[in-house]
């Protein structure tokens, strides 16, 4: 081995593999940014060629985003979209947790209900589920009304559930749908916690409920949060589907104006841009949370 050879500072910089990787990364990032800008430019060119009415966008974007002229906050398209997404994801989390417990249970009823729910929901399109809840259930209400005298007065709760307005129906459909998909995430998260944790807790005299809440779930949450974040981002986009039953969120508003004035391209572009920006923001938040979770190695 040649001990006397000491590389000069310059040749060290040239041969340092980390440094060259970093330089490559920087130029790679620059190139990617250029590609993005180029595609953007092409898009802008195409838009100017097909003579999109930018003034029309200027007149109507505020109606699409927040329903200008209506002071009521619930008329705001963007707020409605975010509201639907947040309430639905919480509903989905509760459903997924219960369903995962059923899936992990040795009780045949709990297991059966859970697997049936997951199979049915994952086996049918979301839009069909939305239609069934909104257009199908009132038919049941009607039939029950014929079978049971004064049904709507005697069982107001059931009747009201069968005749849910558009917004709660949309939320229910999204929660049911995502709850089924997230069941597997929760099940895997709970199962990823070693059996020894449960045994230690049970040996100390904790009940199965205490073991789940205080020992298993707090550890499983770190596994569950990243995929739930992905699902939340996906849900903000899928929430557009509830426009088909007349929930006045972003897409509904874009369509409403676009069709009326034959400027759908303009209004849909506004809606798409908002979904896109929303997704980018949410992704940034999510990667921050993930970094935080990864750091908490302790």
């Amino acid at each position: 081995m040649n001990v006397t050879e000491v590389p000069s500072a310059q040749s060290q910089a040239e041969t340092d593999p980390l440094l060259s990787v970093r330089r490559l990364a920087r130029s790679f990032g620059l190139k990617v940014t250029l590609v993005w800008l180029f595609i953007f430019g092409c898009g802008a060119l195409a838009i100017s060629l097909i003579r999109l009415n930018l003034a029309f966008i200027g007149d109507w974007w505020s109606f699409i985003v927040y329903g200008a002229g209506t002071p009521d906050v619930w008329q705001v398209g963007l707020v409605t979209t975010i509201f639907i997404s947040i309430v639905s994801i919480f509903g989905a989390i509760i459903l997924a947790f219960l369903s995962a417990l059923g899936r992990l249970s040795r009780n045949p009823i709990a297991y059966g209900v859970s697997t049936f729910y997951v199979s049915l929901i994952r086996g049918t399109p979301l839009i069909v589920q939305i239609f069934i809840l909104y257009f199908g259930l009132p038919q049941i209400n009607q039939q029950l009304g014929k079978l049971i005298p004064n049904f709507e007065l005697q069982f107001p709760l059931i009747s009201n559930l069968l005749l849910l307005p558009a917004l709660p129906t949309g939320i229910l459909a999204l929660a049911l749908n995502y709850g089924a998909y997230m069941t597997e995430v929760f099940r895997a998260g709970i199962q990823s916690i070693s059996k020894g944790q449960t045994e230690a807790a049970r040996a100390l005299g904790m009940t199965s409920g205490q073991t789940m809440w205080r020992i298993v779930l707090p550890q499983a949450v770190r596994v569950i949060i990243p995929p739930v974040g992905n699902d939340f981002i996906a849900m903000t986009k899928d929430s557009a589907l509830v426009s088909v039953i007349g929930v006045q969120e972003l897409l509904w508003r874009a369509q409403k104006v676009g069709v009326q004035y034959f400027h759908s391209m303009e209004t849909l572009m506004v809606a798409a841009a908002i979904y896109w920006v929303m997704t980018i923001v949410l992704q940034a938040i999510q990667s921050r949370i993930e970094r935080h979770l990864a750091r908490g190695d302790r």
Partner: protein
């Protein structure tokens, strides 16, 4: 003779078609330290785990300090008695099983607060007392990931002791440790034994069995083969299976 504090009677355990425990009967008196030795797969861990019902025995009965659970018992009463037995026994696992999301002190007081409903402040005092006992009070606020294997096991012992059980069950407490860390855990276990705790220890650590146990039991193929004082067992084993095991073991481990 004193009434036994642990009384296992005709205990059977099947895993599917495999019979792991074949009618075990074992009595342990108060303050006694019993070591169970034998090859892996002999059923010794299953026997220990059946005492606090981490394994459900197929038949037979387990009685700890007068609380009996047998196969006739079912429903709510059975659940209650299993809970009672779990409070009467403390368990130490091969893999420590500390709660990684809780600090050392929170690991120890968790069950005191949640199960025994001890007020938090008082529980912390009890926890600190047991941490001092295992010599780790300076690690009070660390998380388990920052501890060595030996330290983790000592915390696990403190966690079990803090519940003030009448019987301690040790399931191969040093088998997952690097050789140089075994000593500190053995020292703590000896101290616990010297204070008069009733202990059942499944172990491969023959020096502990020889020095500390009152009685050593050799188990093979789901049955108790031979038992006796460590001095007899290690020098003049009566059963050929025991002597074969000990010979092979000692030739391998010096």
């Amino acid at each position: 003779m004193m009434n036994p504090i642990v009384r296992i009677t005709d205990l059977y355990k099947d895993f599917g078609p495999l019979r792991v425990l074949k009618g075990i009967t074992l009595h342990v008196t108060q303050r006694e330290v019993v070591c169970i030795i034998g090859r892996s797969g002999s059923g010794k861990s299953t026997l220990l785990r059946s005492i606090n019902f981490l394994e459900e025995p197929t038949s037979g009965s387990v009685e700890v300090d007068g609380v009996e659970v047998n196969s006739q018992l079912d429903g709510r009463q059975r659940k209650q008695r299993i809970h009672q037995i779990r409070l009467l026994t403390g368990m130490v696992f091969q893999e420590f099983n500390l709660f990684p999301h809780k600090s050392v002190i929170d690991n120890i007081i968790e069950a005191l607060v949640v199960v025994k409903k001890v007020p938090r402040k008082q529980a912390v005092q009890i926890g600190e007392m047991f941490l001092k006992k295992v010599g780790l009070i300076q690690k009070r606020d660390e998380y388990p990931a920052r501890l060595s294997g030996g330290q983790k096991q000592r915390v696990a012992i403190a966690r079990a002791l803090a519940m003030e059980p009448k019987v301690m069950l040790f399931d191969e407490p040093t088998s997952a440790l690097d050789p140089e860390l075994i000593g500190e855990v053995i020292n703590v276990m000896e101290a616990v034994a010297n204070e008069g705790m009733t202990m059942l220890v499944v172990t491969h650590e023959m020096s502990f069995a020889r020095d500390t146990a009152d009685r050593v039991i050799y188990m093979e193929d789901g049955a108790l083969v031979e038992e006796g004082a460590p001095s007899e067992m290690f020098s003049v084993p009566r059963d050929p299976r025991t002597s074969q095991f000990l010979q092979r073991y000692l030739s391998q481990h010096g």
